[in-house]
Structure formats: structure tokens, C-alpha cells
């Protein structure tokens, strides 16, 4: 029987009863949310289960939702089952004041730098990561630039006229 989103959803709900929420299928891709303590267990289950076989981590990234109080930072995992050609996305939310999430490097080696990038941009602390330091920005940077409250532009620039160039750190202006 070919693997479909419904079978995946059913197996997940059997194995993790009541813990996984918000099952959606935007544009055909099964998406769900998991509490951050069981993110490794979910990934390990998806990896090991003989019918599910999600053995390829396509992408790991972070998103900042400033309006969801208590769960501002999200870590989004995209997994791919290469044999049956099904993709899957799941999200893990964490508080911006205690952004600790377990690292996925024990299951997928490709998560190493992707988690460093998420740390660099959002400040998500991956517990158990072998080398969690900044990767794309300068090491001395003391803030997390992709969070919504920080501006895009270089604040020290003197010769660009703010009105003409649309600067001001405001989204959508």
C-alpha cells in the first residue's frame, strides 16, 4: 500500500497519543507541531519505523513569531522519505527567554551547521550540540539579527538619506 499523509498521521498519533497537534496539509505537505521535549523521539521514530523511513533531513530552520507569547521561536524540520517520495514538516516551539531545544546531530549529521545557523540568527540554544558557536556572522556580535526587533541596515552609515532609501528598521515600509 503506498504511503500517504493519512497513514503517516495515523501512525504518529498511535505512537505519540495526544502530544502532536495542528495537523495541516498546506500545499500537500503534512505539517504538525510537537512539544520541544520529544522532538528527538519523533525524529527517531520517523527514522526507524520500517514503513515511514524518513531518513533524509532536507532542512532545519528557525522562525520568530513575536505575537505568540511564550512560544516565540520555532524550529522547523523538513524531512524527506526518498524511497516513497513523501515530504513532511514539523515544528517545535520554544520560549524566547529559555530557548533550549535538543540537538538533532545524533540522528542527522547535516543538522550540525544548520543548527549553528539557527543559533546565530535566532539564539536557539541546542542542548548537546558539539560546537555551538556563530557561523555566518562575526563572532563578536552580541545580538541575534534575524529576530524581528532588530533592524536590517548598518546603523553606522552616514551618507544615505533615510527618506529616499526607505530605511528605518520598520517592516513593510
Amino acid at each position: 500500500m503506498p504511503l500517504t499523509n493519512d497513514i503517516i498521521k495515523q501512525k504518529l498519533e498511535e505512537h505519540f497519543p495526544g502530544q502532536l497537534t495542528s495537523f495541516e496539509e498546506p500545499y500537500g505537505l503534512l505539517t504538525f507541531e510537537a512539544p520541544k521535549d520529544i522532538n528527538l523521539k519523533v525524529m527517531q521514530f520517523l527514522y526507524d519505523d520500517p514503513t515511514l523511513k524518513f531518513r533524509f533531513l532536507t532542512d532545519l530552520t528557525g522562525v520568530h513569531y513575536p505575537n505568540r507569547k511564550g512560544e516565540e521561536l520555532a524550529v522547523v524540520y523538513h524531512l524527506h522519505n526518498l524511497v516513497d517520495n513523501i515530504r513532511l514538516r514539523f515544528k517545535v516551539f520554544t520560549d524566547v527567554n529559555h530557548p533550549d531545544v535538543f540537538t538533532a546531530t545524533s540522528i542527522f549529521s547535516s543538522a550540525n551547521w544548520m543548527e549553528r545557523e539557527t543559533f546565530d540568527f535566532y539564539g536557539v540554544n541546542f542542548v548537546g550540540h558539539p560546537n555551538l558557536k556563530r557561523i555566518l556572522n562575526v563572532d563578536e556580535m552580541d545580538y541575534f539579527p534575524m529576530r524581528k526587533e532588530f533592524p536590517l541596515e548598518d546603523q553606522t552609515r552616514a551618507d544615505k538619506d533615510d527618506a529616499m532609501f526607505g530605511r528605518g528598521g520598520h517592516i513593510g515600509i
Binding site: 556572522n137 562575526v138 532588530f150 533592524p151 536590517l152 548598518d154 546603523q155 552609515r157 532609501f165
Partner: protein
């Protein structure tokens, strides 16, 4: 409100298609001129560039080195990657703040006389990347002689910039530029001894 145009408003008098030689006294089998003109001529036609290529403009440099645009005919056939052996530092591509100290180190390692060409919009002024991580023009850290705009500039534009550097080397600078006041003042403003 429209801003008045400030640059490039005087048309060039006439475009010289063939470079004339320096002035001097010619005779049967000899040519006499002053030493700095000869040195300028020799230097201008054998500049060894250091292609400091970081991003897209570097690929246009590779196209420039190919046979269609042939950079070698300007004497720049031998590109070097060691700053100690090169005359002109061509910075091509975006320089991020992480890369800034590296560019400064490379510039300091170059021996006098040295010239710097900023190729592309990103090296000249930050380009389209007005962000927290991009250095808004390399002239914030090193003095630049020629800026070539474009994103990326066509190989012909890079050649035009290079010809302007050649003109600087040949005509407008004395041999001992490094001892002039203006030059030492410029270097001090960058904190370079």
C-alpha cells in the same frame, strides 16, 4: 525633489583611441625622455593584478581573463595571489564585515607602489546589500584609486577601469608618490603607517 547631478557632467574632450608615447626627443635609433616617464610607461603596461574575487564580480573577472575579452593584452596576464608580488589590488565582490580585516591585511602586505581598484557596486559602496553584515564600501578601510560601478560590471567596464589605473600610473603620479604630503595624509586617515 530631484537631486542635481554632480558627477560626470563634463564631457571628455576627445577620446584617444591610440595611446601616444611620452614626449621626448627622438632621433635616429634613440629616444630621449625623462626617467619618470619611462618608468611610468613600463609600469603601466605590466601591472600585475591581485584578483581579490569574493563573489559574482569574480566570475566576470574570469570571463575577462578568457580569450574573448583578453585581459592579457594590457600586460596583466600574470595574476598573482601573493600580495607581496602584485601592483594592483582588484577587489571584486561583496566584502562582509567578517572579511574586512582580511582585506586590510592583504593591502598592508602589498609593497609600494600599489593601487586599489574597487570593482562592482558592492566593493564601491555596499551595493544592493545595505545590511548589518556588509561593509558599505571598501573605502572605509583602505584607500581606493578607481571605482568601477556595475552589478556585475561588464568585462569592458572592468577594462575601462583598468585603463584609468594605467593612466594614473603613467601620467598623473610621480615616481615617488609615497613621499608626497597628500599621500601620507591619506594613509594616516586610514591608520596605516
Amino acid at each position: 525633489m530631484a537631486r542635481p547631478v554632480r558627477f560626470n557632467v563634463q564631457a571628455e574632450a576627445d577620446v584617444k583611441l591610440v595611446k601616444e608615447g611620452p614626449e621626448g626627443y627622438a632621433g635616429e635609433g634613440f629616444f630621449a625622455t625623462s626617467l619618470d616617464k619611462v618608468v611610468g610607461l613600463a609600469r603601466a603596461n605590466s601591472m600585475w593584478p591581485l584578483p581579490f574575487a569574493t563573489s559574482c564580480c569574480g566570475i566576470e573577472f574570469m570571463a575577462l581573463m578568457g580569450s574573448t575579452y583578453d585581459f592579457g593584452r594590457f600586460g596583466a596576464e600574470r595574476v598573482g595571489f601573493s600580495p607581496r608580488q602584485c601592483d594592483v589590488l582588484m577587489v571584486m565582490g561583496t566584502i562582509a564585515k567578517k572579511m574586512g580585516p582580511v582585506v586590510k591585511e592583504v593591502y598592508l602586505q602589498m609593497a609600494e607602489p600599489r593601487w586599489v581598484m574597487a570593482v562592482g557596486a558592492c566593493a564601491s559602496s555596499g551595493g544592493i546589500f545595505d545590511t548589518y553584515s556588509v561593509l558599505q564600501g571598501i573605502d572605509q578601510i583602505i584607500p581606493v584609486d578607481v571605482y568601477v560601478p556595475g552589478c556585475p560590471p561588464r568585462p569592458e567596464a572592468i577594462i575601462d577601469g583598468f585603463m584609468k589605473v594605467q593612466e594614473l600610473v603613467h601620467n598623473r603620479e610621480t615616481i615617488r608618490r609615497r613621499n608626497s604630503d597628500r599621500y601620507t595624509e591619506l594613509m594616516n586617515s586610514y591608520g596605516i603607517q
